[in-house]
C-alpha cells in the first residue's frame, strides 16, 4: 500500500545490504580461522567488533541525536503522567476546546479533556506497541526464516507458502475486520499487538531465510552438525547469532512500522477505542477541526513524527555501523 510504502522500502534496502552483511560475517569467520596469526593484532590495539560498531555509531551525529530523542520520549511517556495536572480521561467542565494555557498546557478537546495528558497517554501506548511488536515480529521472522532455510524440504515449502499467502492478504483490512468483530469487548492493546505482529514478520522472514542459506554451509555450522548437535540447537547457537546484524536493524525499523500501523488503524477507528486514547485517535479527532482548533492536531502529530523520525535516524546509523563495507567507520582498527 502506498501509504505504508516506507515499511516496504526499508526492506528493499535491507535486501541489498543483506549481501554486504553476509560478506561481513565471512570476514569475521575468516579472521577467526587464523587466531593470532596476523601481526597487526600485535602492533595496533585491536578493537572488538562491539566496540567498533559502537564507535561507528557514535560518529553518526544524527543517529546519536535520534537515540537521545527516543530516550527522552520514552522517559517522557512514562514520567509525563506524574507531572500532568489532569488524567487523560478526566473532564474539565466548562473548558471545552480551549487553547494551550497554564492549566492545560496543550489545550483541551471538545469534551474538555486535557490534551497534554492525552498525548502522554497516547505516546505511552505507541511506545508499548512499537517495542513489543518489534521484539515479537523480529523473533518470529528469525525463527521461521532460519528454520525454513536450515531444514529445507517440507518445512521450507510450507513456510514460504504461508508467507506468500499472508503477503497477498491486505493486512490492514484483515486486522480491521477482526478488531470490528471484537466490537463490544473493547479494542485493547494486546489484541492489536498480536494482530500487527501476525502481519508484520513475513518480509523480514524472507530476508532471514536467504541470509541463512548463505551461511548454513559454513565450516562452523558443518562442524557442529558432525559433532552431533541437534538441528534446532545449531540454529539458535550458530545461525541466529551470525545474522544478528540484520535482526538488530530489522527490529529497530519494526518499531516504526508498528507505530505507524497502530496509528493508521486507530485513525480509522479500528485500533484503540474511545475513551482510551492513542496518537491515532487524537489525530483523527484533530484533523477535522485543524483550521479552527489546530492544537488538537498539532500536539499528537509533533510527538508522532518526532518518535518515528528518531527511530529512523537510529536505524540509519545502525545500518551504517553494522555494514562492514561502510565508509562511516573512518579509522576502523
Amino acid at each position: 500500500m502506498t501509504e505504508f510504502v516506507g515499511a516496504e522500502a526499508r526492506l528493499q534496502s535491507e535486501m541489498e545490504s543483506e549481501s554486504r552483511l553476509a560478506a561481513g560475517d565471512s570476514e569475521r569467520s575468516a579472521q577467526g580461522a587464523r587466531p593470532g596469526g596476523d601481526d597487526e593484532s600485535a602492533a595496533a590495539k585491536r578493537l572488538s567488533r562491539k566496540r567498533l560498531i559502537f564507535r561507528r555509531f557514535k560518529r553518526n551525529r544524527s543517529a546519536v541525536v535520534g537515540l537521545y530523542i527516543y530516550g527522552f520520549l520514552l522517559v517522557f511517556a512514562f514520567a509525563g503522567t506524574h507531572i500532568a495536572k489532569w488524567s487523560y480521561s478526566q473532564i474539565d467542565r466548562g473548558e471545552y476546546l480551549k487553547s494551550p494555557s497554564g492549566s492545560h498546557w496543550f489545550g483541551t478537546t471538545q469534551a474538555g479533556r486535557d490534551l497534554f495528558a492525552m498525548t502522554v497517554h497516547g505516546l505511552q501506548k505507541s511506545m508499548l506497541i512499537g517495542l513489543t511488536v518489534a521484539v515479537f515480529s523480529t523473533t518470529l521472522a528469525a525463527i521461521v526464516g532460519s528454520f525454513a532455510a536450515y531444514f529445507g524440504g517440507f518445512i521450507e515449502r510450507t513456510s514460504l507458502w504461508v508467507i506468500d499467502l499472508l503477503l497477498v492478504l491486505p493486512s490492514f483490512l484483515l486486522i480491521a475486520i477482526v478488531m470490528t468483530g471484537r466490537g463490544g469487548r473493547g479494542g485493547g492493546v494486546w489484541p492489536l499487538i498480536i494482530l500487527i505482529t501476525l502481519f508484520n514478520w513475513m518480509l523480514s522472514a524472507r530476508v532471514v531465510r536467504s541470509l541463512t542459506q548463505s551461511i548454513k554451509d559454513r565450516d562452523y555450522v558443518r562442524a557442529a552438525k558432525y559433532m552431533g548437535v541437534r538441528g534446532p540447537t545449531i540454529v539458535f547457537r550458530h545461525i541466529i547469532p551470525n545474522i544478528s546484524s540484520l535482526l538488530i536493524i530489522d527490529a529497530t525499523l519494526n518499531v516504526a512500522a508498528a507505530v505507524l500501523a497502530e496509528t493508521t488503524l486507530s485513525f480509522f477507528g479500528f485500533g484503540i477505542q474511545s475513551p482510551d486514547t492513542s496518537l491515532g485517535t487524537l489525530i483523527a479527532d484533530g484533523q477535522t477541526k485543524v483550521t479552527t482548533f489546530p492544537w488538537i492536531f498539532v500536539a499528537p502529530s509533533v510527538f508522532l513524527v518526532l518518535m518515528v523520525a528518531a527511530i529512523n535516524f537510529v536505524g540509519d546509523g545502525l545500518r551504517d555501523a553494522l555494514d562492514p563495507s561502510s565508509l562511516a567507520g573512518g579509522k576502523a582498527a
Binding site: 502506498t2 505504508f4 516506507g6 491486505p170 485543524v290 513524527v305 529512523n312
Partner: protein
C-alpha cells in the same frame, strides 16, 4: 520460460483462491450485518430482517459454509454480491476504481521520477552538503505518516487561501462548483487534484530518493563503472550509461510492484481530501458490516499484489540481460 510462467500463474491463482476464501470466512464470522437492521427505529420484525438478509446471502442464522458456496457460485458468474442494504458491490467498485486512478496517477508518477533523479544526483555527491540536506529531509518526510502530511498540506493551503483571499486550493472531493464550459471544468478538476497530488508526490519523492541513492552508491563504486572510465568514457558517460542504468533495475522492480497497490493504498489521502475511491471503500465496508463488499476489496487487492509481482518480474526481464537468457 513459458512453462515456468504458466506454473507461476497457476500458483498465483491457487494462492489467491485460498486468500479470498480465508477472508470470506473471517469476514462472515466477524462482521454482523444484522446489527444494521436491529438498530432501526421503529424496530423491524425479525422475519422481515431475515428475509432481507436471506436475499443478500448475509443471514448469520444460515451456516457459514452454505453462505460461502452460494457466494462462490455468484462470484464465478462475476457477481460479487450485495451490501447489507442491497447496493451492488460490483457497481460500487467499478465506479470507485476510476476515482482512485484519477487520484493517484499523476502524484505517484511525479514522485517516482523526481525521486529517482534526486536520489541519483545526491548519490554522486555523497556526504556533501546537498546530499546531507536531501537525506535529512527525506528521512523526515518518510517519518511523517500520510495522515499528518496530508493534514499539514491542507492547513498550509487554507492559510494560503486566507492570506491571498482566494479559493485557489480546493480540498474536498473531486469536483466542485465552477463556471460553465469545458475549460473551467478541467480547471476545477485540476484545483481539486493539486493538494492530493502534492501530498502523494512528496511521500513518493522521499521514498524513491532514498532507495535510488542507496542502490546508486553501490553501483557507483562497482568495478564496471571504473572499467568504463578506464577505457576512455568520461565520468558523466560512465555514470549515466553504466551506473544509473543498472541502478534503475531494483527501483523499477519496486515501482512495478507498488503501482498495482496504488489503487487501494490511498485510503488516508482519500479520507482527508474526501475522495470516494477504493481505499475509503475498503474502510467503509468494514465499518458498515458489509461482508461481501470487504471480501471483494480483499480479492481486488490480492489481484493487485499478484499483478504487481508479475509486472516486476517482466520488468526485470526487460531491463536485465542476465535474466532474459
Amino acid at each position: 520460460m513459458a512453462r515456468f510462467l504458466a506454473r507461476r500463474l497457476l500458483n498465483y491463482i491457487v494462492l489467491l483462491f485460498v486468500a479470498v476464501t480465508a477472508a470470506y470466512f473471517l469476514a462472515a464470522t466477524q462482521l454482523h450485518p444484522r446489527q444494521l437492521y436491529e438498530v432501526s427505529n421503529p424496530p423491524i420484525p425479525v422475519e422481515s430482517i431475515n428475509k432481507s438478509l436471506d436475499a443478500y446471502n448475509l443471514n448469520d442464522h444460515e451456516p457459514v459454509i452454505d453462505r460461502y458456496f452460494d457466494w462462490l457460485g455468484d462470484v464465478v458468474h462475476g457477481d460479487w454480491g450485495r451490501a447489507p442494504k442491497g447496493a451492488s458491490v460490483n457497481d460500487e467498485i467499478s465506479a470507485r476504481i476510476w476515482v482512485s486512478i484519477r487520484l493517484v496517477t499523476i502524484g505517484s508518477v511525479l514522485g517516482v521520477i523526481i525521486g529517482v533523479i534526486l536520489g541519483a544526483w545526491t548519490a554522486t555527491r555523497q556526504y556533501r552538503l546537498s546530499d546531507r540536506i536531501t537525506t535529512f529531509w527525506s528521512l523526515i518526510i518518510i517519518s511523517t505518516p500520510v495522515l499528518v502530511l496530508a493534514v499539514v498540506m491542507k492547513l498550509l493551503a487554507t492559510k494560503f487561501n486566507q492570506f491571498f483571499d482566494s479559493g485557489f486550493f480546493e480540498f474536498t472531493g473531486e469536483t466542485g462548483r465552477h463556471a460553465p464550459g469545458r475549460i473551467n471544468a478541467w480547471g476545477d478538476r485540476f484545483q481539486h487534484l493539486l493538494l492530493p497530488t502534492i501530498t502523494l508526490a512528496f511521500a513518493g519523492i522521499a521514498t524513491y530518493s532514498r532507495i535510488q541513492r542507496n542502490i546508486m552508491l553501490d553501483t557507483l563504486g562497482a568495478d564496471y563503472v571504473r572499467t568504463a572510465q578506464a577505457k576512455g568514457l568520461t565520468r558523466r558517460q560512465a555514470v549515466f550509461k553504466h551506473a544509473l542504468r543498472t541502478a534503475l533495475i531494483p527501483t523499477g522492480t519496486y515501482f512495478a510492484f507498488t503501482i498495482a497497490l496504488l489503487f487501494i493504498g490511498a485510503a488516508i489521502t482519500e479520507t482527508i481530501y474526501s475522495w470516494r475511491g477504493m481505499g475509503v471503500y475498503g474502510v467503509s465496508t468494514i465499518a458498515g458490516q458489509d461482508t461481501n463488499g470487504v471480501v471483494a476489496v480483499v480479492a481486488f487487492t490480492g489481484v493487485c499484489v499478484l499483478v504487481g509481482g508479475f509486472l516486476s518480474d517482466v520488468f526485470v526481464a526487460i531491463l536485465d540481460p542476465r535474466v532474459r537468457q
